[in-house]
Symmetry: none
Subunit: 133 residues, 4 copies
DNA sequence: GTGGTCTAGACCACA
DNA sequence: GTGGTCTAGACCACG
């Protein structure tokens, strides 16, 4: 599971963390019973205060998404709603619309935008290939 | 043009207002030279403080999206970027990458993402067409 | 760095703060990477509201003069403009013309004006030299 | 007498008008007993509301700088302090310093700035020559 | 009526 | 402690 936060997004960092853990659970990249990243390592990786990660985990536990076992870590609980593909697409919509709107303001045409997205998709695919290899 | 804000979204209210005005401009429901809603009326409609709307408008003016005329109101500016295309593309890159990464997290494949972007691009293009017609 | 504001100047207080921080940066009394006074302490010192100082800092960040780091403070950025020299000169033109016109209104001849500009340029250069030494 | 206002200066427009009329009086380009521009023509020329010019004139009359003769116009009163050259130079200083600081932030060197000022001085001199000719 | 500035004071995210 | 957001309400400049 890969988590990343943006500090200039306006959205609170702990909410970003929560959302991404939920998305990981929904997408199957985090399985039921599997351990979440430790608070301190994750905080260091994200270059974020430990309290911020702790708050995200606390909120997730309150929502019943994860459970904390004292001294052993946090684990994904069972019974997660596995979002269907339509739901996952819907979660992505606002962000896609944001890019489309921004492209329009920057006077970047639709075709150019699509080409750019395609280019970046391929860039990340290559990056993942190289990591595996 | 219809604007609505959610207070529990994490995203600052003034950013939500900015995004929706940008989207309205991109979709053609707000035309170049057209007046934006007044700060005070919009604040009342959104049940938000005047300063919050004012901050959104101030940011939009700073980004060159709108222009304010003393005592007359705020108006949508013509789209005219002073940056070269390469610079504009570069400005869009982080946001595009964010979408690509998020799509990956949601296990939405590259082709599906590109199809989604194409769909939204066409949606906004159609919206603009219908406004003109 | 010493900052002071006048309330009866007509010029907004937050602009006065911005100008003085810019001047401090240009004169070398505030160095690249150095921390600016905190918003709250400066507000108290100037007997001004916190929001007024915050607005000045926000504008300075948007102009790329400073950068703010969450929970740590605001810091003077390195001078690195992304514009080409022609564009930068163009950005300075209106202000130069304003001075030229104003000098004419005050019946200060062209040569006297140029001499005055040269004097002030050297004044700031000396200030920077002395800070370094 | 030539008057110009800047809307983004922060300084109230009516103060700008007052200052420039005072400067014109001080510099001799407006003589004692001479008529000031009419309120409405000046307002149109400056693209400013008539009330704004009227307020400037009202303030000037309160300060004893001008006198209003009903139905005939406004006239410069006697006994104006003719500023000495040193005083006039001092009035120009803040604006000059502003340009020097701004040039530094735009990474425009002292020599380039001086060359630019010289260029604009000559530009305006030529413009005046052509007007006379 | 419009937008612009400022104050006083609250709560949040982060270190 | 830091900066960021928001509210409530005041006064000013402008049309």
């Amino acid at each position: 599971m890969r988590i990343q936060v943006q500090f200039d997004l306006g959205q609170p960092v702990y909410v970003q963390i929560m959302d991404q853990i939920k998305a990981a659970a929904a997408s199957g990249s985090l399985l039921s019973g599997e351990a979440l990243p430790g608070i301190r390592p994750l905080a260091e990786q994200l270059r974020v205060n430990r309290n911020t990660v702790a708050k995200a985990y606390l909120e997730l536990e309150r929502e019943g998404v994860i459970e904390t076992k004292q001294g052993r870590g946090c684990f994904l609980r069972d019974g997660q709603t596995r979002y269907r593909k339509a739901a996952r697409t819907e979660m992505l919509l606002p962000q896609v619309d944001g890019v489309v709107v921004q492209a329009h303001h920057l006077q970047i045409g639709g075709d150019d935008l699509i080409a750019l997205v395609r280019e970046r998709v391929e860039y990340f695919q290559n990056a993942r290939q190289n990591t595996k290899g």
